[in-house]
Symmetry: C2
Amino acid sequence: MATKRDTTSHEAFTMKGGEGQDSYAQNSDHQRTGANITKNIMREAMAEKLDLQTLLLQNSCNTFRIADLGCSVGPNTFFTVQNIIDSVKLKLSDQSHEGRRGLEYSLEFQVFFNDHAGNDFNTLLKSLPEDKQYFAAAVPGSFHGRLFPESSIHVFNSSYALHWLSKVPKEIVDKNSSAYNKGKIYFTSEDKKVIEAYSAQFERDIESFLNSRASELVPGGIVTFLIPSVPPNSKNRFEANANIIGNVLVDMVNKGVISEELVDSFNIPMYMPASEEVKSLIEKNGKFRIERSELLLRLFTEQLPDVHSACMHMRAVWEGIFKEHFGEELVDEIFNGYEKKLAESTFLLDPSFKTMGQLFVIKRT
Amino acid sequence: MATKRDTTSHEAFTMKGGEGQDSYAQNSDHQRTGANITKNIMREAMAEKLDLQTLLLQNSCNTFRIADLGCSVGPNTFFTVQNIIDSVKLKLSDQSHEGRRGLEYSLEFQVFFNDHAGNDFNTLLKSLPEDKQYFAAAVPGSFHGRLFPESSIHVFNSSYALHWLSKVPKEIVDKNSSAYNKGKIYFTSEDKKVIEAYSAQFERDIESFLNSRASELVPGGIVTFLIPSVPPNSKNRFEANANIIGNVLVDMVNKGVISEELVDSFNIPMYMPASEEVKSLIEKNGKFRIERSELLLRLFTEQLPDVHSACMHMRAVWEGIFKEHFGEELVDEIFNGYEKKLAESTFLLDPSFKTMGQLFVIKRT
């Protein structure tokens, strides 16, 4: 019977590295489609909201610094970063008739790729685009804390990363708490106390994320982020997925493969906020103005052609945390069970279940 | 018989990663002693030569940026970087009576760890000191070219890295060249044409290194580097070592284990300059003033307690390039042969053979 491992800290959770068939690099089309859809929106937002005069000219700064937070191993991060650079260059060339010609030729870009220290940075750094026109650096550490010197970054991006919590809320693994999440690895809409604990952890995490970015941003700099969220009047697709895996684990307890305690001590350190939730947290924080907020309605619904692909995608994202807690030898059994149950379920085809991408462009006030 | 691999580019050459018994991390005491010896010299040099007024206050800059070039996987790079930070802090607190109190509390440090893209950055980034008081980033790429934006770094360091050439000089692997280095993997003092080719490559590399750093340094910034060199009136210990391995390879050709062509196409992409050689190249380049130059006479002579340790050290440094060219399956045989021949040789005990560390502190003019 497998023994307990500590997976209550976010540090343990990283995407599957390398470039193999089951790697994140090969199973992140989902995220990439999101990047494509958001490309034009981000370009527009940059064109409208980036005040290059303030950002560069007044600071006599010749370097434009970009950071992608929760970048994983590529290639999506490379497309996103290139899109930001292209947007800045476009804006610069548009402005060059205003007497600022020259800067577009001398401006240099420095890009910081951030993820947890356990991320496969070797794969990331070996696969940097050969023709990249920027200086690249990898930055290890949690984006819930400070990662960069004060006033040093012009544009932050984070795609599909802010729904990872910094840790599992402690109440839900505390046997003496009314929010103790026994026999489950996530929650359903009935588990009010568990939902509250998740929501409160998400609030703390967003707060520390925003505070850190506010310190690190150059005045006038912006943060763009894409976070999965649940739109109004929808059921939570992510929750449905997580509970299917939870059922697989309960089956494994019943078969004596793993202990009950091992399942009780495991919870998914992710939270899909409701659409309005993120907005109100940004407003409550008060350090940023929301310049743009878009619910990308068609983002997810067209992206899961079949059960196997859906399963491969979830495995690429989740395999690391399951391996850490349950042991490598059980991962195949868990995800095979998941695929089987997913095939029997109808929620993938049920339009009332949704998890959408919500894109924010926020600017330091 | 093993087949030929391309090892003419520096990109292929990285230290043995991970933390195992044969890793660079476990076999770099040699380099670490160098770092300890140079610690006080660097502190003195910083105290005397760093003009923090120019570096920080005039640029209204609150971030001090340090880059270690050719950092490998640690831990030596962490000690070196900490020494630089401590030196800057010491100088700041010395200056605080001069009415600049406050900066020592608000100054933030950002440290860039650079090595080739093939370096084991995962090991490096996972082993960053837990109590580090700086923002860390890893930067992949050759320090013979540009790695950072213009005027962005305050102090560069490079320890035991500049003797790696960007590539094997092309003449010595060209059958039609008078510098063709047949049957050897390095040179002896008789091989004038080969020496010339190595020396010319080293000159080109130092030139491009200095030009890149001159662009990247903040005005008033400094570069410290420690390079192995051969002091006046000494025999070249590195050359002796390299030729012992060369003899092992020739033996393997005679036994039919590898082809003659495989040995002819392999050359060590390192060059130990004479003490005066680096100095004259810096002067010729003209972008830096030499503030300090120290031949660390006692650095290497006390550091090789026995043949096995000496062999393990060379293996940690060289294993990568031998594996790349000759194949993993032959590496044990090569280094076992090397250890055997080294035990039979007397040069380790011969005081006329030397390779010393030469420390330079140079400042952008």
